[in-house]
Symmetry: C2
Subunit: 204 residues, 2 copies
DNA sequence: GTCTATATCTTGATAGAC
DNA sequence: GTCTATCAAGATATAGAC
């Protein structure tokens, strides 16, 4: 559970190491496509040793998803506290989009696994993750309803989901080792805030 | 190859039926998670019979992806021809977003499989699909560069990818049996065109 | 806490009758 | 064109030594 705070050094042992290599393999190859042998190889141990730390492959995935959801939730509340109460709508949007994207790309793959691995996870594993996901969604719904009070609840939900879709798809095409995540956030927010329409007069 | 034009009647036989049930299973359960036995059950035949129509499970997926890409490309060019040359930028955007989303939700799951199944498909299968995907992306890049000429190539690429992410994520949360796909398209385009910023004066 | 060895099941794919 | 029967490989998981 304290994995995300630690540096991804190669001196990592046992349980934490299994979690990290498994998260990366699930993300790149998929859950069913990744065998325990592959995970064991990457963690430099034998398949049987994994069962000392986790009850099953499903339990391993479940914990990975937990850690990922915890990371984005923490990023959200941290961004909110840094903002102060006088922040403009656009500043709030910018801070939270940047926080989400930063968490998405922060060295571990726990958060990103939530995007592509979750939809195909075994039903039990998905169900266990739903409450945390709902909580996180509620944070965004609340924030968006404050900065765009004109939106009805349907449009609000749709905007949130489309924004999530746009942000989360970045795990598949954005190379965070080449570009800045904050620049990515700034561009997304700029487009979402002002739109694509030719700007006839700057409203700032 | 002519599958998408046919109605999804239960009188469907052999090859076409395999394609349709497999596409739906891959989409909901994932590729590796779906066995040939499961596909055979859903198609009401024996696993061995599938091999009379397809060389391998990979070949089956490959053809599903081909059909899906063909569907969206056809939708794009059809929308472009309906538009005429005097269409405004917003009208073009509206038509193509609606076309993409309609193709995404049109009875078969071939197109939607491209969103969630493709990333975890075997490397060979992915590689075979890349040229078609690049072609489709080029159509969008070209269209967006015309309606938003102010965007640099980096911002253009990012806008296209984020828009794709937003649209394609809808396969995971939009119930097209309850709401209208065209309404969904209208809302997405409205937000993308005008932005979330409080509107101080309508520029139409 | 990691290992060797193995049980048990499911997988994709093939052979050949009809 | 679909079937029965089966193979070989790989999967998750367990038992028990060290």
């Amino acid at each position: 559970m304290a994995v995300v705070e630690k540096s991804p050094m190669q001196t990592e042992h046992g349980r934490d190491r299994i979690l990290r290599v498994a998260a990366n393999l699930f993300l790149t190859k998929g859950y069913a496509e990744t065998s325990l042998r592959t995970i064991a190889d990457a963690a430099e141990m034998r398949p049987a040793s994994i069962y000392h730390h986790f009850d099953s492959k499903d339990a391993l995935l479940s914990e990975i998803l937990d850690i990922g959801m915890h990371a984005v939730t923490t990023a959200f509340t941290a961004a909110r506290e840094e903002l102060g109460s006088e922040a403009t709508g656009r500043q709030q949007l910018q801070a939270h989009v940047a926080g989400h994207l930063r968490a998405l790309f922060a060295n571990q793959a726990f958060t990103a696994a939530h995007v592509t691995v979750f939809p195909f996870a075994p039903a039990d594993v998905r169900a266990a993750s739903v409450p945390q996901r709902d909580e996180y969604e509620a944070l965004w719904t609340d924030m968006l309803s404050h900065i765009a009070p004109g939106l009805g609840s349907d449009a609000l939900r749709l905007t949130r989901l489309a924004l999530f879709g746009a942000m989360n798809s970045a795990v598949q095409w954005f190379d965070h080792t080449e570009g800045s995540v904050d620049d990515l956030a700034a561009t997304i927010v700029d487009t979402l805030w002002h739109g694509l329409a030719p700007r006839t007069g700057g409203t700032s």
